[in-house]
């Protein structure tokens, strides 16, 4: 068994702070971590201070207690945002701290929760929190990265003992973020981000009108692009000019398609962990950009999907399409992580719910009304599900009617590689 070196883990913490969140001198930093990750969180906090942070606050999560709250407290109580909590959102939307989310949870960690209750409460709270989130959008750096939690590791490697599973998950995660014992991962990330720019430039040059997906598993799907849409990938620049990497790892190039314009069927190719519960083997049928039918192998999964797509109006419409080749190094690991951060980078995927304003050219000078008018979907959810298949073909059609093969047999064609 390889033992992950402490120095390597420390290097990863530094990477998250410097390349992920790109913490600035004098900035406040918010770290979100599960209570079982105190050791790694402390490394991140230390690195954030070394990067010059003014103050680093850690907010702890604990699934078992979240479950108890949803089991016992009333919908009314769970829906409440207290005045001090709203005051905190306000502070955050003005302070614009760099935010670092450290994921490690059990993909099944919230199994058994009353979804309806959770949904009602989330919906109520979202009404209050939304203006503050909107105020922060594209104005601060944030990053999501992962470290192994015990239950998660056992879920990914059920055949191994706990300590072995943890080690193996560490090795797998570090591989996806290009951290080795000897290298400088910051240099690697800089190079990878250059490659993303090249790939996006190629795709953007075509100004595709629509994409057509086909694979033998039943996927037969068309989706239309926004006239001013653009492909993104890798790092982003916030409106204060700070370059950051929202996801570690990241392989995908993605865009937000035009709301209300999608037709046909997409069939999932990997399980989806949605709010701490797994959904497997499901499909969606779209008409006029909306989910008009769906199914799943298991009834309980179909019920979960029902809850998901009815969260709000935008929850049944598309916010993102993303391209990830089968030969993605994460897919080649052949590990099912049960975690979107990884699994979405092993497969082409589509997200229901909220789109990304920064997938619009010139987004820097636009307002909420402009994004609505252009067709950026709005929702309280954003849920990615995987549709990549070994024989997936994606053809882009330009406004002039030219067909361009983007994906063939699950991978980018040579032109886009």
């Amino acid at each position: 068994m390889v033992l992950t070196k402490k120095s390597t883990i420390k290097k990863y913490a530094k990477l998250i702070v410097r390349v992920g969140a790109n913490v600035q001198k004098g900035q406040t930093v918010q770290v979100y971590a599960d209570v079982d990750q105190a050791e790694f969180a402390a490394l991140v906090v230390d690195e954030a201070y070394k990067a010059g942070a003014k103050k680093v606050n850690v907010e702890w999560g604990c699934d078992s207690i979240t479950k108890l709250n949803y089991r016992h407290a009333s919908v009314k109580t769970l829906s409440t945002i207290l005045p001090w909590q709203e005051e905190k959102m306000k502070w955050q939307s003005e302070e614009l701290p760099a935010r670092i989310m450290i994921e490690s949870s059990d993909p099944d960690g919230l199994k058994g929760i009353n979804m309806e209750k959770m949904q009602k409460a989330s919906r109520a709270r979202y009404k209050i929190s939304k203006p503050y989130s909107e105020k922060m959008e594209n104005r601060h750096q944030w990053t999501i990265a992962a470290v192994p939690g015990e239950a998660w590791a056992k879920k990914v490697f059920p055949g191994l003992r706990k300590s072995q599973a943890m080690e193996k998950l560490w090795q797998a995660i570090l591989e996806t973020v290009y951290v080795t014992d000897d290298n400088d991962p910051i240099e690697v990330w800089n190079q990878v981000n250059e490659d993303f720019k090249t790939k996006c430039a190629k795709l953007n040059a075509y100004h595709f009108e629509r994409l057509e997906y086909k694979s033998s598993n039943g996927t037969d799907f068309k989706v239309w692009m926004m006239p001013k849409g653009r492909w993104c990938g890798g790092g982003e620049t916030d409106l204060n000019g700070r370059y950051f990497n929202p996801n570690m790892p990241t392989i995908e190039v993605f865009t937000t398609p035009e709301k209300g314009k999608a037709e046909g069927k997409v069939v999932s190719t990997k399980p989806l962990s949605y709010q701490g519960q797994l959904i497997e083997n499901f499909w969606f049928e779209f008409k006029d950009g909306k989910v008009v039918d769906f199914g799943a192998e298991k009834d309980k999964d179909k019920e979960l999907i029902e809850k998901m797509v009815t969260m709000d109006e935008g929850a049944s419409m598309i916010g993102e399409v993303a391209l990830v080749p089968c030969e993605s190094p994460i897919n080649k690991q052949n590990i099912l992580y049960y975690n979107t951060l990884f699994d979405e980078n092993a497969s082409c995927h589509i997200a229901l719910g909220r789109g990304f304003n920064d997938c619009v050219e010139g987004f820097e000078d636009l307002k909420k009304e402009d994004f609505d008018a252009m067709g950026v979907n709005d929702s309280m959810i954003h849920v990615d599900f995987m549709v990549g298949a070994p024989d997936l073909s994606i053809v882009g059609y330009t406004h002039e009617g030219k067909a361009v093969q983007i994906f063939e047999n699950g991978n980018f064609t040579a032109e886009f590689n």
Copy 2:
């Protein structure tokens, strides 16, 4: 090795909720726990909901991150209470949640911290938080209880392996709070609280003018009582009529003496864990109720004491004297817990700093000015140190000049037993 049963630990969680905090139907509950205590915290949360709590919030602590904050953030940043944080204090002072503090920290957990910085920041924050704490005083239920943390267990039982030390500390703690595999500890606590009432009534009947302490280790000390002072012990009743037990375990009977009236020397008999650092073998000399001299075997400890007694004006004056016999079951365990919650119940002790308003007869109808006038000391600190010795004698003198032997050879005389 005895293995503590899960059902026994669950019973302890219930005891904390029902007898410690006495959580009421419809009440909000705040639980404070270290991040490594998620499992026990979940038991407490569950029991609080079963007792009818409306909402249970857990606030997590983590010494390693507290240390990083004190190392890297500026005094100015550490002194700041943000508007939302003050709004939260305000909410708490109006909501009056039941508060449950679960202790498990390493007694040395904050070793190496810059005390001066911590002190300056605490002082600044206290100015803002004080009115809110005062508003809550005697108006809500609270309790402090403990569970083993790994570092703490290893400190208490350095010769044992980690898992053994944890087990042994579990057994020791459960013994102090009268929880066994088979009993109903709630019944035991009800009886113990009756015994406290009897003992306090006996002491209060004398209306002592002063106490005189003497033991061969150098303690030779006089301290004067408030004319309206009273002895307390065991459970308390808040101003809303809710009976609760602030400390689990508790053996002490205690009172707040009159500010400014103490003379002579007291010599410590056990180490003191002060803000995550240990102070050993020290003494204080009092004149006119104030510390006028002090010493410690080690220079670093003397420095810590210097910082402690200069926190504010009241930090060098006495807020509490407490009587605990050598034959206290906790003292008989012969375990040094390095934690005041336990060690103060193994030995007579004295506290520097804040006194207790509810140690005044008729406190329910009095105001801050009244307590000040009567001689209840005020300070941001309240630090108990142990002075119990095997040959300790304590004589109470009544206003009529009658001498009453309260303690002889470290134990209550028959009259008070």
